[in-house]
Structures are given as C-alpha cells and as structure tokens.
C-alpha cells in the first residue's frame, strides 16, 4: 500500500512539473536585435565595396556611432573582434554629439540623432568619411548612404555623388544593389 502511494505521488509530481513546463511561456530574448545585426553586416560590406584614399589605409578602420545605440554598438564590437579590413583592425567608437567626432572612416547617425547631420557634415570638412543615416530624405541633405525599409526588409539608398564628394570610390557592385538617389 505504501509502495502504491509512493508511485501515485511520483506520478502526480511528474505530471505537475511537466504540465507547468507546457503552460510556462518560452520567451523571446530582447538581447537579440536582428535589425542591429543586419545593419552591422551592411556596414562591414560598405567598407568592402568602398575605396578610401591611401592615407586612410593604415592604422585602425574607425566606425563611429553618434549616440548610444547599444544593440548596434554591441554588434559592431562583436564584428570588430572577429574581422579585419585588409591589415586594418576595426575600431568602434561611440560619441554623444557631433561635436565629438574625430577622424573616422564611417559615421553612422541613428534615426533619433538625424537632426545632427548638418553638424556632422561641418565637422567632417575635407575628411573622407562615409556618412550613413537612417531617415528618409537624408541622402538629399548630404548622407552618402541611408538605410531604408523595403518590403519589410532592410535596404539602402545610395547617393554616389555625396560619397565622391568625400573622395570615396563606390564599387559598381554596391551601386547595383542600392536604390540610387541623385
């Protein structure tokens, strides 16, 4: 009788534990920001499809993010720890305002900081910095590349003239894949 009770108790426990497992929710992981990863892959690709002047081909390849977009910075840091561009190590920097911008290969201006584009442009002056933004219309205001959403996917616009203005040569392959803005 005692044995039967024990089996019954065990059966009950097993059922309860596993039923709770079913009812308890599996959750999504908010740390997994897929959009940030996709943007990081895009930025890495831009660096391969664009040719910088000779004096930018030594030292670190600097990617600066304007603002504290933590998901993107995390992804870019991961990228920097895994990849190189030729012999150049990738260095990722975050600045809180356009005024703090130093010599960079790429400056990324997130949507919420789009208002600082003009300040960024005046800070770049004659440097060869690729300006990447993510707000509609900014390729007409000086950005070379602007992230857009097309059919629920991340895509990009390219204003070739804006890139060339900063002595950047854009590969024809990149041109083919972009939505061109003149």
């Amino acid at each position: 009788m005692k044995g039967n009770l024990s089996i019954r108790s065990m059966k009950h426990i097993v059922l309860v534990v596993f039923s709770l497992l079913f009812l308890s929710a599996h959750k999504i992981d908010p740390k997994d920001d897929t959009k940030a990863k996709i943007k990081a892959v895009y930025l890495y690709n831009f660096s391969k499809y664009i040719d910088w002047p000779e004096d930018y081909k030594s030292g670190s390849f600097v990617v600066t993010v304007l603002g504290a977009n933590s998901s993107l910075l995390t992804e870019l840091d991961k990228m920097a720890s895994l990849k190189k561009l030729g012999n150049q190590e990738i260095s990722v920097k975050s600045i809180s305002s356009a005024g703090a911008l130093e010599k960079s290969h790429i400056i990324f201006i997130p949507f919420e900081n789009s208002g600082q584009l003009n300040e960024v442009i005046s800070k770049i002056k004659g440097n060869s910095t690729l300006i990447v933004t993510e707000k509609q219309g900014l390729t007409k205001q000086g950005a070379a590349i602007n992230f857009i959403v097309k059919d629920n996917k991340q895509a990009f616009e390219l204003n070739k003239a804006n890139a060339e203005h900063y002595k950047l040569k854009v590969s024809s392959n990149l041109v083919k894949l972009a939505t061109l803005i003149e």
Binding site: I7, L21, A25, K27, I28, T34, K37, I38, M79, V149
Partner: protein, 312 residues
C-alpha cells in the same frame, strides 16, 4: 494471504505431483514472486506456454498472471531500458482476463495491474524525456494514452492528448533553446507536438504562443547565428528573405494567442518583437506600451496590497 498462496504453489511444484500445463501456470506465478531475472524470464516462458494450451488458454487467471509477469518484466529495468512491448503485452493480457471473467474481483485485480502500468509508464515518460532517451518517452506517451483511455473511459482523450503533446512540445523547445546549433532536430519535434495540440484544440493559447515563438526564434537564429559578416550583400538579402518568411509565419500564431488572451504579458512582448523585426515600428511600440502598462498595473496592485497590509 499472498505468502500462503506462494508457499502452497511452491509445495505443489516441488512435490512433483503435477507437471501438466496448469502447473506451468502456477510455476510461472511462483517465479514472479522472486525478484530475480532468471526466474522472471522462466515465468515468461511458462506463462506463454500456458496461454496457448487448450486447458488454460481460456482461463482468466492465465491472462491475469501473464499481465502480472509482463508488467514485472517492464518494471525490472531502469527507465531508459524499459521495453514498452512488455507493457503492451501486460495490458493486452489484463484486458483478455477481464473479457474471460468480468466478475468484480477479477476486474479489480487486473485493473490494479493496469494502474501500476500507467504509473510506471508515466514515470518512465518523465525519466526518459531527455536529448538521448526521448524516443522512449514518445513510446511511453503512446502507451499511456491507451492506458488512460481504458482506466478513465469517460475522460476526454483529446484533453489528455493535448496535455501530453503540449508537455512534449514545450520540453523539446526547451532543449532546442538551450543549444540551437546542437539540438536543431528538437525544434521540429516541438513543432510537430504543438501542431498535434492545435489540431485537437485550435484555441489552445500556449500552443499558439509557443508556435509563434518557435518561428520567431527560427528567424532570429538565422540572423544572429548563421548570418556571417563575410556574406556579401546578395546573400544578406537572401537571408533577410528567409528570415522574413519565418517572422511572417510566427505572426498569425502570436496574434491568435493575443486574441485568446489579450492580457498575457509574454504575448504582448512577443508581438512587439515580431513587429519590430518586420520593421513595423508603430505596431511594435503599441504592443510594447501595452506590456509596460501591464507592468504599471501590477506594480500598483502590489503597492495597494502593501498599504492594505499596513492598515491591518
């Protein structure tokens, strides 16, 4: 009483008076009283002979003993090595015994064996639900369904099946989430289990929600784990297409879970995540806000409880 029967049967056997098939039946039962592998195996041979011999094959006791012996054969091994076919034989034998003699006593004795089988099967299910032994768990699940159907004929089989399949799905999903790269196949098993639940119960909230999560995580895994920085832009575009199809597949399940229970916080977070990934930021923020509002309401309730406690 039990001991007396055993002593009597032992005496009968060893005096060598009778060596007919009937004694094989008795001997088989005696062997089962020893917790020894050899005797249990011998019992099986003897009871199987008795179960086909004309004098004993239609005796309810033969099948009761057979049920008992096969139940013991199932029980004697560790969970991972238990053979469901032994439990199936035991179950079959008990039913046959009841068919031959439907008196209350005989029925009660056989039902006792079937209940033991059900407990054993359920425990085996729990003990073998892991990455290596899970086929055994599936086997026991199938067995358990048959046993419960017999023991509780009035119970809804659908709800029993929903519960077990839900458990399986959730477990496989958990295994997958622990190590998606290594445990890829488990996500398919989880999907299969939830699909079974949804066929039986389309409005099952957990199954709808978990299906949404499965497809959402497939998309996330594709981007976070399989998308390499070295991939060119054309490949990146292809991967986005594939991920998009997973996100779109997850959406109706999560929406259904939301319709069925709009106040479940996990669902609100899930919908916010899916819409965010689909670049539908307004909708994403709308669900994020609903989820945050819910946090606020919970906090308010907790504070009120504290105040009430203080007043008392």
């Amino acid at each position: 009483m039990y001991k007396k029967i055993v002593v009597f049967l032992l005496l009968s056997l060893f005096t060598g008076v009778i060596y007919a098939q009937l004694d094989k039946l008795r001997a088989a039962y005696i062997f089962t009283t020893q917790q020894d592998k050899l005797n249990l195996d011998s019992a099986r041979i003897l009871i199987n002979e008795a179960s086909v011999f004309p004098e004993t094959m239609n005796d309810a006791q033969t099948w009761y003993f057979r049920g008992f012996i096969y139940k013991e054969l199932f029980k004697r091994k560790q969970a991972a090595s238990r053979e469901a076919k032994n439990a199936e034989e035991a179950f079959k034998s008990c039913r046959k015994s009841i068919e031959l003699d439907s008196t209350a006593d005989n029925k009660a004795n056989n039902v006792q064996i079937i209940k033991s089988l059900s407990a054993l099967s359920n425990n085996t299910f729990g003990e073998t639900l892991d990455t290596i032994n899970y086929p055994k768990a599936l086997e026991c699940l199938a067995l358990q369904k048959k046993l419960v159907k017999f023991l509780k004929p009035a119970a809804s089989m659908d709800s029993i099946e929903v519960n077990y399949e839900g458990i399986m799905g959730s477990y496989f999903q958990m295994i997958y989430e622990k190590n998606p790269k290594k445990n890829t196949k488990f996500i398919n098993l989880a999907e299969e289990a939830y699909n079974k639940v949804l066929i039986l119960e389309p409005k099952n909230i957990s199954a709808n929600y978990n299906m949404g999560i499965i497809y959402y995580n497939q998309a996330v895994s594709l981007i976070m784990n399989k998308l390499d920085y070295d991939f060119d832009l054309a490949t990146l575009n292809d991967i986005q297409d594939e991920a998009l199809s997973w996100f779109k597949k997850s959406l109706p399940y999560m929406e259904k879970a939301y319709q069925l229970n709009p106040r479940r916080k996990e669902t609100l977070i899930g919908l916010s995540g899916i819409y965010y990934s689909l670049h539908e930021n307004d909708k994403s923020q709308q669900f994020q806000k609903l989820s945050q509002d819910m946090d606020g309401q919970i906090e308010k309730k907790d504070n009120q409880k504290e105040i009430d406690k203080g007043n008392h």
